[in-house]
């Protein structure tokens, strides 16, 4: 006999994410989930972003990696409180799940935080699937990757609220069709803002930081 179930497989995660969202809203914290493939320059980009935000926007960071604390050490230099989550303790996971964020957030005094940045595990597949209770998702890709990345990972580009195209300072040395990359992003997600930046030279950083500040302000305004 057939027993109707009708439940989402990720129910447990979604329930936890909803609890996170309520906690962060009550505490007036804007949560940004930053995702990318490995090596896109996400940590450098976040370091430079945080330096521009602090001290106006009080920022804290949760860094997810399968192992090592290298990224957390780099980001701690900005003065922002940083918690490193190594997913190998949770079975070498390829993404940060909502319960991991809940646990990691206990390390911060949320009343003193306006923006919580979650640097997700470098991976364009799984993190797209897992809600962590964030207010916005951003995907970072770099011009040293293929122009067709958005077409290969449509879910990621579909669920994100903004895309950052990093390492544009390298364009003169590459046979990379930047316009095609942007076209591909917009083909997957019409209307998505795309920020072309170089985290190294800080070219284009300004408009990205303004976008982020606006988002944070929108949520935190009384």
């Amino acid at each position: 006999m057939e027993i109707k179930v009708v439940r989402k497989v990720l129910d447990v995660n979604n329930t936890m994410a909803a609890l996170n969202r309520k906690l962060f809203t009550d505490e007036k914290v804007f949560v940004l989930n930053v995702m990318s493939s490995p090596g896109s320059g996400k940590t450098t980009m976040l370091g430079k972003t945080i330096s521009r935000l602090m001290p106006d926007v009080r920022t804290a960071v949760i860094v997810g990696d399968v192992s090592t604390t290298n990224d957390a050490d780099r980001l701690a230099k900005t003065g922002a409180p940083v918690v490193q989550v190594n997913t190998d303790a949770f079975g070498g996971d390829c993404h940060l799940a909502a319960h991991v964020i809940a646990k990691a957030a206990e390390n911060f005094t949320l009343a003193d935080v306006d923006l919580l940045i979650v640097e997700n595990v470098g991976n364009l597949v799984c993190p797209a699937e897992f809600d962590i209770g964030e207010d916005a998702k951003v995907v970072v890709l770099s011009v040293t990757e293929g122009e067709d990345k958005p077409l290969k990972y449509p879910l990621m580009f579909r669920v994100c609220d903004a895309a950052v195209l990093n390492k544009i300072d390298l364009l003169p040395y590459l046979e990379y069709d930047k316009d095609e990359a942007v076209r591909n992003i917009v083909q997957i997600h019409p209307g998505i803002p795309v920020f072309e930046i170089s985290a190294r030279t800080e070219d284009g950083m300004e408009s990205w930081v303004i976008w982020l500040k606006e988002k944070v302000k929108e949520k935190l305004k009384p």
Binding site: M1, E2, I3, K4, V5, V6, R7, K8, V9, L10, D11, V12, G91, D93, C94, H95, N123, V125, C126, A128, E129, P150, L151, P154, L155, R158, N184, V186, Q187, I188, H189, P190, G191
Partner: protein, 126 residues
Amino acid sequence: MHEMGIAMQVVEIAAASIPEHLKNSRVQGVYLKIGKLSSVVPDSLRFCFDIVSKDSAIAGATLYIEEIPVTALCKSCDNHWTITGPAFSCPGCGSGKIVLISGQELDISSIEIEDDSNGEQNSANA
């Protein structure tokens, strides 16, 4: 990539869905709906499901996966269509203002339990 974790959740939900009075009946099948836009590979999931379910309350159950196509509705012209390639604008009017109707599912729809009468017969025969 996280099919093992998904398989564990599937087994857990399926086992918890067995009604109390049928606790001793065999679960024959678990029915899943997986949207084509979700990042789950059905073959990998079946492989993981077989491993995880082996020592569970639903041991021996078969995993049936229904793949759900990605469909969208255009907010500008009301066009409703199935997306087969990586293009998310309306083929009718070109608008990018679309709503995804399906394609992101990762749901358990039902479980199939061995019929009561058979169960009793089996235990009587045993």
